[in-house]
């Protein structure tokens, strides 16, 4: 009993001692889990849609080029005389939902997609280890061909995007993918093709990162002449722009193209230089409550 009393009497002193340490320690902080953001610099790793969302109210215009293969040699300036172009734009409807549209020279294709991010990697208390998004898209080729119905021209893509920022420098993403082609060239090719997109980035400095991307397709679903796409490049960020410079064996810049119709091989110089330029425009500004 006496000890209890003694202990209680000393309590106010203990409080006093703690006080000298820091005033801030007197106030408890809410321990809410903190979202891990900026897993990648922009919404594409190279060709592959990344986990990143275009912020709400922001328009991101993307101009992308893929040149001819390096093996074309000096006469074609190692492919630079031949460019395949995609012009696209993305817009953030809500913080978690974005829409994108594009037009590629490749098979005169229009592509459109929605991306929804529903889980964020967090740190702190009750941390969640990775971010999750879903990507749903379609593409329509508009080549002249009287034998094709409209539905024959359509392909669809469904992608689950799982990404984790392992450190400030290293982020890795896995994208299990299903591609459905309404029409395929031969009976040996499957209409629905399972594949996986694997991507990663390593930050070399705050504004430059090295990106890698590989998109293997499960064997026997596509014709033998097609290969898996592999790309390596750099993201260079300057204010409102992100420049992505890369080497890739894929010429198409929509999912059904680079996943299932890449025909050049790295082994025999079938590599192209390419770039994506992203420029953001803030269309809707949130009102800041300044003084």
């Amino acid at each position: 009993m006496r000890f209890v009393f003694l202990f209680l009497s000393v309590l106010p002193f203990m409080g006093g001692a703690q006080e000298s340490l820091s005033l801030l320690s007197l106030v408890s902080e809410e321990q809410t889990p903190e979202k891990v953001d900026a897993i990648f610099k922009t919404t594409r790793i190279i060709n592959l849609p990344s986990i990143e969302q275009t912020p709400a109210g922001v328009l991101d215009v993307k101009i992308s080029h893929r040149f001819g293969t390096l093996q074309q040699g000096a006469y074609d300036l190692f492919g630079l005389d031949n460019a395949s172009i995609r012009i696209g734009a993305e817009y953030g409807i809500y913080p978690n939902l974005m829409v994108g549209l594009g037009r590629s020279g490749y098979e005169k294709t229009y592509d459109g997609y929605l991306k929804y991010k529903w889980l964020s990697q967090t740190k702190g208390n009750h941390a969640f280890p990775f971010s999750v998004a879903a990507f749903v898209g379609t593409s329509i080729n508009t080549l002249k061909n009287d034998n094709w119905e409209f539905t024959d021209r359509a392909t669809f893509v469904f992608q689950l995007i799982l990404a984790r920022k392992f450190s400030n420098h290293l982020s890795i993403q896995l994208s299990p993918t299903l591609i459905h082609r309404n029409l395929v060239a031969t009976a040996a090719e499957k209409n629905t093709v399972p594949a996986i997109g694997i991507g990663g980035r390593f930050k070399l400095s705050n504004r430059i990162s090295l990106n890698l991307e590989y998109t293997p397709v499960f064997s026997n679903f596509i014709a033998d002449r097609y290969v898996n796409s592999f790309s390596v490049g750099f993201d260079i960020e300057t204010g409102g722009h992100v420049f992505q410079l890369h080497f890739t064996n894929a010429i198409a810049m929509m999912e059904k193209g680079y996943f299932t119709e890449t025909y050049d091989s790295w082994n025999d110089g079938g590599v192209r230089f390419g770039f994506n330029i992203a420029r953001v425009f803030t269309l809707k500004k949130p009102k800041l409550d300044t003084f």
Partner: protein
């Protein structure tokens, strides 16, 4: 036993003499960068401030990621490239009142303060002067000062030198309640 009781009882009785303290978790900071081509503003309402008025000491902390910008990309760059908020998640100010004058208007004091401001892991001394209103149930104040971005080892790349100012204005506003 009775002697002990008396002894500790007295200590217990005098302990609440500890001075009056105030705190807030919703203090506001607005910072403004005024460059040739661009004016950038950011706001947070998540400033924690604790004041020990009688001892003349106070401390502030603010999570860097709580600053919001008009342009989302600027916010990303602010955290990723300039403040590196994963490495340095908070800014701190630890200060003391070096001079306190009671003004004509009731409960208003002109104070001169001196302290250490830590941003981006770099600590620099700051001196400022402002007016605070101190009531038993409230401590209110506003202050503003400017800092040189380079002092805190925050690099502004050459390419954005006309969009990001070298000197940034910081305005702080707090409305504290007693800390029990």
């Amino acid at each position: 036993m009775r002697r002990w009781l008396l002894f500790f009882g007295t200590l217990f009785a005098i302990s609440p003499i500890f001075s009056q303290k105030y705190f807030t978790k919703k203090g506001k900071i607005v910072f403004t960068s005024e460059a040739i081509f661009e004016r950038i503003e950011a706001v947070t309402n998540e400033v924690i401030a604790v004041w020990d008025w009688d001892a003349g000491k106070f401390e502030f902390s603010v999570p860097i990621k709580s600053f919001t910008f008009e342009k989302a990309l600027m916010q990303t760059h602010f955290n990723e490239n300039y403040l590196e908020s994963d490495l340095y998640p908070k800014a701190y100010f630890k200060g003391e009142i070096i001079e306190k004058t009671l003004l004509d208007s009731p409960n208003h004091y002109r104070i001169r303060i001196n302290g250490d401001l830590t941003i981006h892991g770099v600590t620099r001394p700051i001196t400022d002067e402002t007016v605070v209103e101190v009531l038993p149930e409230r401590l209110k104040g506003e202050a503003s000062f400017s800092i040189e971005v380079a002092d805190y080892q925050i690099e502004i790349p050459w390419i954005v030198r006309e969009k990001v100012a070298k000197v940034v204005d910081i305005a702080v506003k707090i409305d504290c309640e007693p800390l029990k």
